[in-house]
Symmetry: C3
Subunit: 139 residues, 3 copies
Amino acid sequence: MQQKSGELSISTYHRGLIEVTENISSWLTKSEISEGVLTIFIQHSSASLIIQENADPDVQLDLQDFYSNAAPDNPALYRHTSEGPDDMPSHIRSSLTDVSLTIPVLGGRMRLGTWQGIYIFEHRTSPHTRRLALNVMGE
Amino acid sequence: MQQKSGELSISTYHRGLIEVTENISSWLTKSEISEGVLTIFIQHSSASLIIQENADPDVQLDLQDFYSNAAPDNPALYRHTSEGPDDMPSHIRSSLTDVSLTIPVLGGRMRLGTWQGIYIFEHRTSPHTRRLALNVMGE
Amino acid sequence: MQQKSGELSISTYHRGLIEVTENISSWLTKSEISEGVLTIFIQHSSASLIIQENADPDVQLDLQDFYSNAAPDNPALYRHTSEGPDDMPSHIRSSLTDVSLTIPVLGGRMRLGTWQGIYIFEHRTSPHTRRLALNVMGE
């Protein structure tokens, strides 16, 4: 049994889902671990992780609409407004989705379903650099 | 340290929670790993995982009601309607619950609380076969 | 590769977020594992785990408000009322947040972002003792 630790930095340009499946898949290939578990952890609380269908782009737009309605950019709803009208909604939307993901690995590949893609869900409206802490453990 | 990889296929018949605690517990017993971490990953984005109280069946019905109201089967709300009125709500409900679970193992058993059960949360209205990718690592 | 299993018991006094970052960090230091993955699992379904900003305390109050509105303490909404008006909302709020977290470890420390803290989210109104099952694996 062995492990590899790493990090990915991803630039986001606006609110929305940014697919990172290929970035993570390339990193995993370099680790040379063929069977085990991959852990992905996002080091932020105003962006999050989500695994969703990567076939129809409308799914991503509908997801954004849902979360925009669930936690609207309305400062009247929140105490925490000092970082902008989109910051507190970003924390709420992050708490509803994922900060960490664990994905089993076999044959050197993540065991994702046919239509599953891994996304950073950027909740802020302005560009950010988002860091993912990675670990793969196995053999 | 060693590991075992596996897969479970579970048939679902309609929308709702299907308990899989026993299925996973049996698989874990066969792995002969007594201390470590079990990873459960669902290879779909219109069904999800959830750990909840397994004592009062009303809890599961109330959970279903909550998610039905949060993301209703109303095509007027969504762009993505080509796979049926229940597909986009299924993606949203999946994103609100879990795609992966990690459960510590000790004495050959999952360290679940007294009232905790593991469930597949089927969000589609028609029957499906759902695949869970499993890994247990430890000694 | 080695591992350590453990448990933390945390007293909660009322509904709200209780930071446990230091409790978990101390436990991790004693494990003497410097690189690997930490798993945290809460053995309850009416309290949950959440990683959020630990800078402005208003963020925590706004999070509580959001979840209180999302799943209100209104018995007319639920079948499961035998354990009190706050029990079913607690199950729903737990299902929307996290039962397990996996955090990569490097240099003997959790790879949390600058502003990230780990919290137990107590959803019940009365005091409880909450148990966290822990495992760290690595070297």
